[in-house]
């Protein structure tokens, strides 16, 4: 293993994050606060408790997942797309590094940023509501796994994308609907039976449900299934990335 290369990539990516640190820090704080004002205070006060907790508390896990997923994807996809765009990818491809080292560097940095933002949102939420976390270790593990798996997914998008529009396409067209329909702001048990069944085909449901379980001990789907889903998603992303580097897809003619 060329650990020096992994650290070098990781550090360079984090440096980019710190250059825009204020933005990276302020924007999740503001957007989370807005969600609480709108959903928590304005609408939430008219909603009864969901699964035994206040509506404002109920949406915290979904809110964190929403940001963590989009941030993981956008950071990782931009991280690897930008060298392709500027042409500096030549250096990565001609360096004595293998795909695992490149992935560890980029995905590790993207996941770190997303994790940081997730924690910032959690801290912000604690100002609005009294947070209870039933399984703190499981909560952290879920958060970390989500950051990693979605950063891997973002990495794939970044390699695939041929221009900036394509870079935005999947997050906008596929992911945002999946997250909003994945029970970020409601329990899928609130849906009619048909839509509950449809929701089970949405992978995000399992992630949000599992994450919410780690907070309140209640879930839409069994926790074991949630863990399997995230493991399966991570495995699939790793396989695709392995294939990308083996075949040189969109990297090497």
């Amino acid at each position: 293993m060329n650990w020096s290369a992994v650290l070098t990539i990781y550090r360079a990516e984090m440096l980019r994050f710190f250059r825009t640190f204020v933005q990276s820090f302020i924007s999740p704080v503001i957007s989370t606060s807005l969600y609480f004002v709108v959903f928590g205070a304005a609408i939430g006060s008219r909603i009864q408790q969901v699964e035994g907790v206040s509506y404002a508390a109920f949406i915290v896990p979904g809110l964190i997942m929403l940001s963590v997923m989009t941030q993981s994807i956008s950071n990782a996809s931009f991280g690897i797309y930008f060298p392709k765009f500027t042409g500096t990818i030549y250096e990565l491809l001609s360096a004595p590094v293998n795909f695992l080292e490149i992935v560890l560097g980029y995905v590790g940095a993207a996941a770190t940023k997303a994790l940081f933002i997730g924690l910032v949102i959690l801290a912000t939420a604690s100002f609005f509501i009294e947070l209870q976390i039933a399984h703190p270790m499981a909560m952290l593990a879920f958060l970390l796994l989500t950051c990693l798996s979605f950063a891997l997914f973002g990495f794939i998008i970044g390699i695939w994308a041929g221009n900036f529009e394509q870079l935005q396409l999947i997050p906008l067209l596929v992911l945002t609907p999946l997250i909003f329909l994945g029970g970020a702001f409601y329990s899928i048990t609130m849906l009619p039976a048909v839509w509950q069944t449809v929701s089970l085909f949405n992978p995000v449901v399992y992630l949000i449900s599992g994450f919410r379980w780690s907070f309140y001990g209640a879930a839409d789907v069994p926790i074991g299934v949630s863990l399997l889903a995230i493991a399966g998603f991570t495995g699939a992303c790793l396989l695709i990335i392995g294939w990308i580097f083996k075949s040189g897809y969109r990297l090497k003619p």
């Binding site: 060329n2 020096s4 290369a5 650290l7 070098t8 990539i9 550090r11 360079a12 440096l15 980019r16 250059r19 930008f82 060298p83 500027t86 042409g87 500096t88 990818i89 030549y90 250096e91 990565l92 491809l93 001609s94 360096a95 004595p96 590094v97 293998n98 040189g248 090497k252 003619p253």
Partner: protein, 312 residues
């Protein structure tokens, strides 16, 4: 000993374009090889395959004895690449960009070494500038600094002086000379024949994916060179006497100089007869000078398309 061994290397791109048609070549350690060829000849593809940017379709390449595909880590550790296109992260500072290259190749941070490289390339004062603030020439220097930061034994320079000013070109030649003194092997592609002539030990001419020749520079020029004899006249002439018509003389300097071209390898150079005829024609000579024809002429002669025959 050969540090780069290329054996029947072939590359056919997805669209079916055959960029390399079986190139074989050995490059000795510490040698400077210039690859000449028109646009699209396969120069960049050859370099890209050796550096790992393009996968070969067939054939092998070894660098320092390590196969460039199966043993890529050891092979690439020896190699530095300065690409043809300027490719830099615009927001990164010069110093960070150069350190990045060193770390990527698995080397320990060495501030003194990086400082030395940046000073040699006149970049030290710009070390805290973002690369987007630099001029084109400066950006190219950064690319060179990045390639040198990981102490390569083989340096590929892909059109290093395309579009740079005279000063940078001279600097570049100096750097190349210094690297050669340190035993670094340098392979450069260029359009500027002058550049190959100035710094290369050997010259390879590549066209349409095939290596037309690789030869020692001086031997090549001796073998294929034509010479010019420039004859300065005491008094300028406006027209040539009829008896000199067969020599293909060209009038230059408003009639003050006669230029005669001849082949050094020809059976007879024709110089003796020409001088005798000049005396007979009553022309008085002030001076004589011979010049070797440049590599450019050789190059153009090798890569020129054979004249097409009319089908009609």
């Amino acid at each position: 000993m050969a540090i780069v061994e290329i054996d029947d290397l072939q590359k056919t791109y997805d669209g079916g374009f055959q960029a390399l048609k079986g190139v074989s070549l050995e490059i000795g350690e510490g040698e400077i090889l210039a690859l000449l060829g028109p646009n699209g000849a396969g120069k960049t593809t050859l370099i890209s395959v050796l550096c790992g940017l393009v996968s070969p379709t067939a054939g092998q390449a070894r660098i320092g004895g390590h196969d460039s595909v199966t043993d890529y880590r050891k092979a690439r550790r020896l190699v530095g690449l300065v690409p043809q296109e300027i490719a830099l992260d615009p927001f990164t500072k010069v110093l960070d960009a150069v350190r990045f290259s060193r770390g990527l190749f698995g080397l320990k941070r060495d501030d003194a070494k990086i400082e030395g490289i940046l000073k040699q390339l006149s970049l030290w004062d710009k070390r805290d500038n973002r690369t987007m603030q630099l001029s084109g020439g400066m950006k190219r220097r950064v690319l060179i600094a990045k390639a040198l930061a990981h102490e390569p034994r083989v340096l590929f320079l892909d059109e290093p002086t395309a579009g740079v000013d005279v000063e940078l070109r001279r600097d570049m030649w100096e750097i190349v000379a210094k690297l050669k003194a340190d035993g670094v092997t340098i392979i450069l592609t260029t359009h500027y024949i002058e550049e190959a002539e100035a710094i290369a030990d050997r010259i390879g001419v590549i066209n349409k994916g095939a290596l037309l020749l690789v030869e020692d520079k001086t031997a090549l020029m001796e073998r294929m060179g034509r010479k010019e004899l420039r004859i300065s006249l005491r008094a300028p002439v406006t027209t040539l006497p009829d008896m000199l018509a067969g020599y293909g003389l060209v009038l230059a300097d408003e009639g003050a100089t006669l230029v005669y071209s001849y082949d050094t390898k020809g059976e007879a150079t024709g110089i003796t007869a020409l001088l005798a005829d000049l005396a007979r024609a009553g022309l008085k000579l002030a001076d004589l000078k011979t010049t070797q024809s440049s590599l450019e002429d050789i190059f153009v002669g090798l890569t020129r398309e054979p004249p097409k025959e009319d089908a009609a």
